[in-house]
């Protein structure tokens, strides 16, 4: 079994997890305090608990957004630097994948739904998913939309999933819990192998 690290920094709550030979080690604490100052120490603690070092890692899974720009950069800088020094495979997932997974069990088979996150400046990050027979299907990748564009993308969807502010849509709202790093491992079919992960910004910096 591979030794797999997961890093989640796209959301206001920051977490890491380690899959050590099938045993999920997750500190269960929010690492966002002091601008995620404890993130790297938490990684060190996890691999130590597994009687390993970061050099023993086989895979690193990371959420590349969209989400907190600064959070994404901290997590991705960690992952890229690890890959610079250790022969690891990097697997990336989207923050919207995480929220979609969190509510998948509440949706009917073949239901379409959108996942929306507040992008500020009156914009919304939005992705569309479908509950397929073999798992979650990404129908439309995340984009950054105005409220008007949001209506078009959400047309025909059965619900809107969010984490925080509700978007201006006339759909049932499902407020998903903040996802943890460990749940990234449950999204293998949506994960992409990416040796040089980059944040999904979707908006110009200014």
């Amino acid at each position: 079994m591979p030794l797999r690290l997961a890093v989640e920094t796209a959301f206001p709550t920051v977490s890491v997890a380690l899959d050590a030979n099938g045993t999920l080690l997750e500190p269960g604490v929010d690492l966002s305090a002091r601008r995620a100052a404890g993130l790297h120490a938490a990684v060190a603690d996890l691999v130590h608990q597994a009687d390993a070092t970061v050099k023993n890692l086989d895979e690193v899974w990371v959420d590349v957004g969209p989400g907190s720009y600064t959070g994404l950069r901290v997590g991705i800088a960690l992952v890229r630097t690890l890959a610079e020094l250790v022969d690891v495979e990097i697997k990336t997932l989207r923050s919207t994948d995480q929220l979609a997974r969190a509510v998948q069990g509440q949706m009917a088979d073949h239901a379409d739904f959108v996942v929306c996150l507040d992008a500020r400046r009156n914009r919304w990050y939005c992705a569309r998913y479908r509950v397929a027979s073999d798992g979650l299907e990404l129908v439309e990748a995340p984009t950054c939309l105005t409220p008007e564009e949001l209506h078009t993308t959400a047309s025909g969807a059965e619900a809107v999933v969010t984490n925080g502010a509700a978007p201006p849509l006339d759909l049932p709202v499902i407020d998903a819990a903040v996802p943890s790093a460990g749940s990234l491992f449950e999204l293998a079919h949506l994960a992409r192998v990416d040796p040089e992960p980059a944040p999904i910004y979707l908006m110009a910096p200014v």
Partner: protein
Amino acid sequence: MLGIETSCDETAVAIVRNARDVLSSVVHSQVALHAPYGGVVPEVAGRSHLDRILPFYRSALAKAGLTADQLDAIAVTHRPGLIGCLLVGLSVAKTLALTLELPLIGVDHIQAHVDAAFLAEPESELPLLALVASGGHTSLYLVRERGHAERLGATRDDAAGEALDKAAAMLGLGYPGGPALERAAANGNRSAVTFKRVLLAPDSLDFSFSGVKTALLYHLRGPGCVRPLPDLDKAARADLAASFQEAVMDTLVRKLALAAARTDARTVAIGGGVARNTRLRELLADDATLKGRHLVFPPLDLCSDNAAMIAGLGGYLLAQGKRDPLALEAVAKGI
């Protein structure tokens, strides 16, 4: 010692041996990225740091002829600076320290500017009096023990470099303003306009540059800014640039001289981006109070933001036994 600097708009990595020998120092300036906005945009800076930091890490190693396993420690700027920028460098530095199992040393960016004097001239005698002047900082420090600079005074409003940048913008000289103003000033008459030197109380070692900036604005637009900015010909712009630069540099020198007279400093040094200014260096070399003290003018690439100064001070602190935890924080404010 590998050093990393990402506190503002320069991405820099350097390798320094024994806190004095610079084996490599690579710097990526983001000036071109920020020029369209007329100033540093933190989000633009943060994105660029992430894009550049690892290629520059590889470049620093290659230029030094080293591999990662030959490093002894990692030093990183953790204060002061733009938080989103500091965090990129910190994340890389922490991961290097964790993976390579090396000590991590957090370095104060301003302390490192002061310490650049020891990279330029390792035998500099203490106490050392330093002026650090840049777009974000203008302060005087006294160093009795290397790595422990005591602040004697600081600007109460604009930094010297910030005033130069804003004056350059008023004169239509472009961005970055400090170097543009200096180029324009080279052909101007520095006595054309006498801008008041704001020295605050006679014994104060603090600075204030907002007044001289406003004086230039009123000179151009009249008291209360009743006129639009005039169309200046090249000669008029040069004269104003030279006069304004003279006021700022003269103020810096007077304060440094006042501090020198009040301390037992044997060495006087300058650092920060404004320390690249040729007129400042001329005035310092000619100042009667400073004569008799050893003046250290670091090379230009050690004055503006760089990682050699981070690795240099980091190396010294390592030798003194300093170690920082992986939970080292980024802090916006410095000493």
